[in-house]
Structure formats: C-alpha cells, structure tokens
Amino acid sequence: MAEFEPKVVAFVCNWCTYAGADLTGTSRIKYSPNVRMIRLPCTGRIDFMLLLQAFGQGADGVIVSGCHPGDCHYTAGNFHARRRWILFRRLIEFMGIDLRRVHFAWVSAAEGAKWAELVTNVVDEVRKLGPYQSFPKRLDGQPKPVEVA
C-alpha cells in the first residue's frame, strides 16, 4: 500500500513569499513536492474562508505566508491579516479543528531556504497526522449520493 502523501495548500502573497518560493526553485533547493501554491496579492486579502475551503476540498494541511511585518508591499495588509489570524486560530481551536494542520509564516523574497525548510517541516508534520478525514468535504467531491434529513 502506498504511503500516505499529504496535500498541503499554501496561500502566499505575491510580493514576498511567492517570490521567495521562486528563489527556492532557482537556487535548486529540494523540498517536499506536496504543496500546492495559491498566489494572492497580499496576505491581507486572504479570507479565512479560503482555508476552510481548502480543507473542504481535501487538503490535509494549510500554510499561509506573506511579507514580514513592516515590509508589506501594500504597507499594512499583513498587519490586518495578523489580527485576523489571531482571532481565527482561536475560533477554530475552540471548535476542535486541528491547529497542527494550519501554519502561518513570514517568508520574504530573499528567504528561499526558509521556504523550503518551512514546507518540508509542515509536510512532515502533516504526514505523521495522516489524512484529515474528520473535516467535512464539499458535496461535489463526494462520489456517492448524499441526502440529509
């Protein structure tokens, strides 16, 4: 039986983390291929619902990453994002959603090595946790008929 390989979705900002991940590639640094990158202009734009949607579509782990505080391309987007994450983390923790599967980071455009290390660490951690089976999934991802009375 094939060993479980987690699917990790990364929501990253265009100006820092995406560029940083690009640097990881051009530097030929190897890291876990399990991550699917979703590029947004800024972490400030990342709606918490996107994270829930990622899990609902079968992600086993999620990474959210952007510019370091003070370096946001749009000045304050990441400051707003940080406040949102503080509250969102608390809420999902209270509801019993597995925080070990949700990771936040600041990765700059120069931090290619950090990106590789981050992804590899997260993927390793999520691999140990196994697939996120208890999280409800989207209806269009379910092959069998569904009916709820």
Partner: protein, 339 residues
C-alpha cells in the same frame, strides 16, 4: 374508521424486529437533550415518551433538507452526467401525530399534482405511516381549526391510540397498513369496540379554515392587517423549515471549474431574497408582503388550486419562531377581522 385491532405496547419490540427483518428502516421520535426529533430506531425503548411535538417534522423522510441529484463533468466539448439521487428506502414512520400524518396529503399534492416528482414520489410510495393519537396538546396546537384532530385518521396507514398504559387501539386504514398487520398478524388481536375519544387531547377550535379561505382574498389588500401581524417577524426560515407542509426548495450547483453536483435544498418564503428577480426587482420586498404570501399560500391558494390545505395545525412554526409568531393566534385574528 378502518378495521380495529388491539396492539399491546409490549409487542412493539417484536413488530419492529419483523419490520426491520422485512427490509424496512424505522424512523421515530427520539429524545436528544431537551429536543425530540425523528431518527432511525431499532427498538421501541429508543422512542421518546412524554413530549408534545418534534422540533422538525417527518417530512424529511420524503423531502430531506438537501439531496444530490446529479453529477456533471466537462469532458472536452461534452458533458458527462451521472444520476446521483439517493434511492428511496422502504421506511416506516412510527409515532407520527395525526397532524403530521395529514401533512403527507399536502406533500403528495404539491409533488405529484402535474407530474410525479422524481425525488419525492418514490419515497412517498415506499413510506408507511404508523400514526399515534395525541393525549395532550399545548397552546401552539390548532389541528381542530384546520380540519384535523388529535385522533384524526387522515394520512395514517395505521393509527394507534394509547387507550391505557399497556395497549393501543390500532385502526388499520389502508393497504399499506394491512401489509404491516400481515407481517405480524398475531400481534394485532381483535378489538372489543374500545373507544379512543376519552383519551384524546381536548383542542378547542380557534377558527374554521374553510370559512377563512373564502375571506382571505378580500383581506389581501388590507396592508395594515399584514403589517401589524408581521412587524415582529425577523424574516428567518425557522417556520418554513420546521413546517411539515412547506415544500419550497432551491436548486443549487456546487461546482468547480470542470464539474460539480446539482442538488436540491430547502428554501423559505420569509427570506428577503426569496422572490428577488435577476433584474433586481423584488415583488415581495417587504416582510409584510412575504408574511401575507405565506398565509395566502397555505390557507387560500393551495386549497383553491390543489384542494388541500397547506397547514395541519401542528404549531411547530410557532414553537420554533424566535419572535413568537403564533400562527393559530394570527389566523384567529384574521377570522375575527371584518372585511
């Protein structure tokens, strides 16, 4: 009235076992915290004892909160479509009060009046109702105002009335009911003319729905009447979703780029966007207009068009309503309003 038999309460376990062995699933009121809801049961001890009414109704057995209909996948220039409808399961609804049993007539009328609804009709066919008469009611019940009653037989295939602590009077009313008896004939012993009236709840009628139906058209234009009744309505869907005769639904596609599923789910006429047109026009933009529509639909349009009332007086809407919109009270007020 149907054929009368006696069914011992102690026999229920054996009856359930026979039904389940015959491939039926049994849905009955089950207690959970301080609520009672219909759920699958295997044995009679799982059934809730002392309660007035379930929070949501048994209509979920034939018209669930949501169900998938089909799956579609884009394949080049073609679309692959797979049927994804859940199969109708043979079901016995046990312990359904006479109001709820009567509601199935409305469900059937709405879902089969011009063509048989492919999702509801098969379930109706495979559903048998063992009703249970009411020995008590509360301030929200008004079955006797809408042509029903605590011992009414409409809609039940078998109606059980607990005539004392140990046994039910069983009225065998339809072919489906007779089939249940045939599965375990030794459990249904001859009756001796026992009467059910003495144990039935006393629900005084508040108004006469058939007389009111004629009056409602004349009240349509009285905007003050509808405004005054609906001022405290907050426009949620609690009444529609608790109601055993509400049938409005939405069709939604949940999809991603290359495919998805189509499904049907409940909708409610109280929502602000219920009649919002694509043009932006909304013929029922005001809550009072939506309230009026709710009453007219259930008490005037449905009786006129489908020959069946859209309300069975179970009172669930009023119990569920966050602002205590007591439907029986509102209808009584309409009955007393001069045109």
């Amino acid at each position: 009235m149907g054929e009368q038999r006696i069914l011992q309460k102690a026999s229920l376990g054996e009856l359930f076992a026979k039904l389940i062995a015959g491939g039926q699933r049994i849905l009955a009121p089950v207690k959970s915290d301080d609520r009672v809801e219909f759920a699958a049961v295997k044995t009679p001890d799982q059934i809730a004892g002392d309660y007035i009414q379930t929070t949501t109704s048994a209509k979920t057995a034939v018209f669930p909160r949501y169900e998938t209909m089909l799956r579609f996948r884009l394949k080049g220039k073609d679309v692959d479509v797979d049927e994804l409808t859940p199969e109708a399961k043979p079901t016995v609804l046990f312990g359904v009060h006479p109001c709820d049993a009567a509601s199935f007539a409305t469900l059937k009328a709405v879902f089969t009046w011009d063509s048989a609804d492919a999702y509801v009709e098969p379930k109706l066919e495979k559903t048998t109702i063992i009703g249970l008469s009411c020995t008590k009611g509360d301030a929200y019940c008004f079955c006797t105002s809408v042509g029903g009653g605590p011992g009414d037989t409409r809609g039940s295939d078998i109606l059980l009335t607990p005539i004392d602590a140990t046994k039910y009077l069983a009225e065998i009313l339809t072919d489906k009911g007779r089939a249940i008896v045939a599965a375990a004939p030794q459990l249904f012993t001859p009756a001796n003319g026992e009467a059910k009236e003495p144990v039935l709840a006393k629900i005084a009628p508040r108004f006469a729905a058939d007389k009111l139906a004629q009056k409602l058209s004349a009240l349509f234009g009285k905007t003050d009447v509808w405004l005054n009744q609906s001022l405290r309505c907050i426009g949620c869907g609690a009444c529609a979703y608790a109601c055993p005769t509400c049938t409005c639904f939405d069709i939604q596609d949940e999809r991603q780029r290359y495919g998805g599923v189509r499904m049907r789910c409940w909708d409610a006429c109280g929502f602000g966007m219920f009649t919002l047109h694509a043009s932006g026009h909304n013929p029922r933009a005001k809550q009072s207009e939506r309230w009026r529509q709710r009453i007219m639909h259930k008490f005037s349009y449905q009786p006129e068009r489908l020959k069946v009332l859209g309300c069975v007086g179970c009172g669930r809407c009023s119990r569920a309503c966050p602002t205590d919109m007591n439907l029986g009270e509102h209808m009584q007020s309409l009955a007393e309003t001069t045109v």
